[in-house]
């Protein structure tokens, strides 16, 4: 039996249940998503887009799904103390794919800002959600997005009204919690109206030593002159599989920073598609992966310069140890007439062992002449001369290697526009290299 069949059967049997436990707006696109999924099937490695990740293999095993929306007896605030020190954030939790109802008293947001369960807000403000939900995540092009749209019952909505500035960063912690092999389908919808500003930090954690498979579809609408930062930090374990499809649409003069950091994982596939559809829009897309053992990190990015005068900066760095596999495919499309585009893409990779593998595929597709576009990719090792220089100065080889690796990925951390988070990440990265992760201090979850 093909892997997709079990999902087709499940949906056919449980469609009514899925819909009953969700909101009407979320139910609307399910039928089309189902048709698309049946037509597409899971992509194979012959698909250029999924050359480096065998989707079938990850979806084939039997996972439990919480279609009945049973609540987990967990109060995350009591067990989770992993928040970034010295940083005051408004903290929220998603347990598997349900938004946690316990709201922390410290979480205060400016008036008019909505942050909460996608399902609940979709019931309260159906007009608002209908306007945006599923508008970027095209189910006819990607089977994982289609699958997510079929099954997603809840998730998070963030809405920042016109000219509102959310000063305090918002932190969202996704906790994976289950006693059996488990699948979650999460959905995040972010809307920033004209002139709005916000920062969101999303952390992924897994609490139990079972196999997790999570699909997450994130849609970001950045209105004119809006500023938005999205940081994603993954610290799970070796038996999690994560498929994250992030779709961004930017209007004129908006500024978006996307930074995806994979510190600990099993298999991760991040797909990022950014549409620059208003003049003067700017996007910085950064990513970093530190992987060892059998970890696998596959980042697939696509930046679409649709109009003139837009800027994109892309920086991805990988450190691969053990038998880790890294893949990076970045495509930049400059459409006809998108003059004065400036686009830079850099991908640098360190392979530390013979078994580690790196695949990189930077691509430029340009149909306009007055543009400045460049890309660069390297795969290599630490500089022997630098190591020697440091050893001469009494630094042990091991320490010298650590320092250089640390400096190597630091460039990505430096793109973060939140000082406290930057400091915290410096620490986390160092700990990761020293092999002390993923044990956050004082955290009961990570054991």
């Amino acid at each position: 039996m093909k892997a997709e069949q079990q999902y087709i059967d499940l949906f056919t049997q449980c469609e009514a249940l899925v819909c009953r436990k969700s909101a009407e707006v979320l139910n609307a696109p399910r039928a089309k998503a189902f048709a698309d999924f049946e037509r597409l099937g899971f992509p194979t490695r012959k698909d250029e887009k999924y050359r480096y990740t065998d989707v079938d293999k990850y979806f084939a095993p039997d996972y439990g799904l919480n279609l009945n929306r049973l609540e987990f007896p967990v109060n995350p605030y009591e067990v989770f103390k992993c928040d970034v020190p010295n940083m005051s954030t408004s903290l929220y939790f998603v347990v598997n794919d349900s938004f946690d109802k316990h709201v922390h008293p410290s979480a205060k947001l400016p008036e008019g800002v909505l942050f909460g369960s996608l399902k609940d807000i979709a019931a309260e403000h159906p007009e608002l959600v209908r306007k945006y939900y599923g508008k970027l995540a095209d189910t006819s092009k990607d089977a994982v997005t289609a699958l997510n749209t079929m099954f997603a019952q809840d998730g998070v909505l963030m809405y920042v009204p016109k000219n509102t500035v959310v000063e305090r960063p918002v932190q969202l912690v996704n906790i994976l919690r289950a006693d059996v092999n488990f699948m979650v389908n999460r959905r995040i919808l972010i809307v920033l109206e004209e002139g709005a500003q916000a920062r969101l930090l999303v952390c992924d954690h897994a609490m139990d030593e079972v196999n997790f498979l999570s699909t997450q579809v994130v849609e970001v609408f950045a209105g004119e002159n809006s500023v938005f930062d999205l940081y994603e930090l993954e610290e799970t374990h070796n038996s999690t599989v994560r498929f994250n499809n992030l779709y961004v649409k930017q209007e004129a003069n908006s500024n978006v920073l996307l930074n995806g950091i994979t510190l600990h994982n099993g298999t991760t596939r991040n797909t990022v598609e950014v549409q620059l559809s208003g003049r003067g829009a700017e996007v910085s897309l950064c990513g970093m992966a530190i992987a060892d053992k059998n970890e696998q990190v596959d980042n697939h990015t696509f930046i679409d310069h649709q109009v003139p005068d837009c800027t994109s900066n892309e920086l991805f760095k990988y450190v691969l140890d053990g038998q880790a596999v890294g893949a990076f495919a970045g495509k930049v499309l400059v459409r006809e007439g998108a003059q004065h585009t400036s686009s830079r893409q850099t991908n640098r990779n360190l392979c530390a062992t013979r078994e580690a593998r790196m695949y990189t595929q930077p691509q430029l597709e340009i149909y306009a002449d007055d543009v400045k576009c460049s890309h660069g990719a390297t795969v290599g090792q630490l500089d022997e001369d630098a190591l020697f220089y440091m050893q001469q100065r009494g630094i042990s080889l091991k320490e010298a290697r650590l320092l250089l690796m640390f400096a190597f990925v630091n460039e990505v951390v430096d793109h973060i526009r939140m000082d406290a988070l930057k400091d915290r990440l410096h620490l986390l990265v160092e700990k990761r290299f020293r092999g002390e992760l993923s044990k956050c201090r004082g955290c009961a979850i990570c054991k």
Binding site: E48, C351, A352, R354, Q363, Y367, D369, A377, Q381
Partner: protein, 484 residues
């Protein structure tokens, strides 16, 4: 920025495609269509041994199971493989083929003279031996005897099959198997003439070897096959040139070039590709779908590809290197120019298998008019290829706002000691550069020519003298009317 066309360039382009004439000569063309009988017919016309016929038939049967690949960044109209004639022989008058220059039809001689390729040795450029191929047959190979004194075999592949069957049998299909790809299978089934070169151990070939390909007959395809074997410690520099008449129909050219480089040998392969590119409206032109691959089999061997691609309506080729010998080196230098409605999807593959192997890729794309120009390349470092080193640089220059320039590099690294670098930039000629030249009394049109030539210089420098001059001229002609 409106630039008056360069006078010199204008003169040249008003003749448009200089090589677009046809030769009126009796050509024996077999019936259109492709089936096993056609394959057998080609083989029998060439008087081939059974093993080669078997090879062709195997390839043909395999080809029938394949579909035309669609992954390239090209827009290829459907090709009707039954509407093409697969064998055209312009030397058919003479029964046994020409013995000396005197036996060759004077029309043919005139044609090659007109193309600047004199076939009479006393007239020829010194230091260059030529194998002239028209349609499916090699017309004449010059300096064959002189080369033979050194033990160098330089002849058409049909002749090599007759005279040196062991060598041909040993190496034919050893680098590009008939199952390799759609066009390789097609070529293996119906290939006609091409050149065969064998450089014996320790011999440095004293002159440039070159093959000139000419398509003349209408509604035919050219399926040449070239095989170069450089034995231990030898050296050869090989050039390839090609032209075709101007026609409204598209003509298919699907060649295979195989190169085997043994211990410490060095092969330099240069191409100036100038097939008819079609007219300014994109009508006609040659489809150039070629499989070129070399195997640096020997220890310390070296292979260098240099190509200047200015012609063809569609160019689709990736001259590649398999670096299987330890300490072997490969280079790829390319300038690809597309104008009007031309399309190109070209680049290279460097497969590092041996230890301490090195490869360099320098690719310069220039697109103008409404053309699409893509670089596609693969650098693969296998598990056992310790200390592999690759450097790739792909630059694109855009002249005009309706053209496209694309880069699709792939890097697969399976060994931690490898160092692989890729860099690419896309830009247009900046106004600052033009202004700088203007300040120094250089007119805008000259400045553009200067900048384009300077941009491509890194590659042109790698060409042998005679070709470099021609290539430089070609560059300016191909780009005429596109600057501004």
């Amino acid at each position: 920025m409106q630039i008056e066309p360069n006078k010199y360039v204008k003169e040249l382009t008003q003749e448009k495609y200089k090589y677009g004439f046809t030769t009126d000569i009796h050509t024996d063309i077999i019936e259109k269509g492709l089936n096993e009988d056609v394959v057998r017919l080609i083989s029998s016309r060439k008087g081939e041994p059974d093993w080669l016929l078997e090879f062709r038939l195997k390839a043909f049967r395999h080809w029938q199971t394949m579909d035309m690949p669609e992954w390239a960044h090209l827009n290829i109209p459907d090709i009707d493989y039954q509407a093409i004639s697969y064998y055209a022989d312009p030397t058919a008058k003479k029964k046994d083929g020409p013995k000396s220059v005197d036996d060759i039809d004077p029309e043919l001689l005139k044609t090659f003279d007109k193309l600047g390729i004199p076939l009479e040795e006393r007239l020829a450029l010194s230091g260059m031996a030529v194998d002239a191929v028209m349609d499916s047959v090699s017309v004449k190979t010059t300096f064959k005897e002189t080369l033979m004194e050194k033990g160098i075999i330089f002849c058409s592949i049909s002749e090599a099959v007759r005279e040196h069957p062991d060598l041909v049998r040993k190496y034919l299909g050893s680098v590009v198997g008939y199952r390799d790809n759609f066009f390789a299978a097609l070529n293996s089934a119906v290939f006609s003439d091409g050149s065969f070169v064998y450089i014996p151990k320790g011999v440095r070939c004293p002159m440039e070897l070159s093959t000139y390909f000419r398509i003349n007959a209408a509604n035919t395809g050219q399926f040449e096959r070239t095989l170069i074997v450089a034995d231990d410690d030898s050296y050869v520099s090989y050039l390839e040139g090609c032209t075709a008449p101007m026609r409204d129909e598209n003509q298919l050219h699907a060649a295979i070039v195989e190169i085997v480089v043994l211990d410490r040998a060095e092969v330099k392969y240069s191409t100036v590709q100038n097939w008819y590119p079609g007219d300014a409206e994109g009508k006609g032109g040659v489809y150039n779908f070629v499989t070129k691959r070399g195997n640096c089999k020997g220890e310390g061997s070296k292979l260098s590809w240099t190509q200047v691609e200015t012609g063809s309506a569609i160019t689709w080729k990736y001259p590649s290197c398999i670096l299987s010998g330890d300490n072997s080196t490969a280079e790829f230098y390319s300038v690809a120019v597309t104008n009007n409605f031309q399309q190109a999807d070209t680049g290279t593959k460097m497969i590092h298998l041996g230890k301490n192997t090195r490869s360099t890729i320098v690719s310069k794309g220039i697109s103008a008019g409404r053309s699409q120009n893509s670089y596609r390349g693969l650098v693969r470092v296998a598990e056992k290829a310790d200390n592999a080193r690759n450097y790739s640089q792909c630059d694109s220059l855009l002249l005009g706002s309706l053209c496209g320039a694309h880069t699709f590099p792939y890097m697969d690294v399976h060994n931690e000691t490898a160092v692989v670098e890729h860099e690419a930039t896309t830009s247009k000629i900046s106004e600052d550069q033009i202004f700088y030249c203007n300040q120094r009394g250089i007119s805008t049109e000259d400045a553009v020519g200067l900048i384009v030539n300077g941009y491509a210089k890194e590659v042109l420098n790698k060409l042998p003298m005679e070709f470099a001059v021609e290539a430089q001229k070609l560059l300016s002609v191909s780009l005429e009317g596109s600057v501004g």
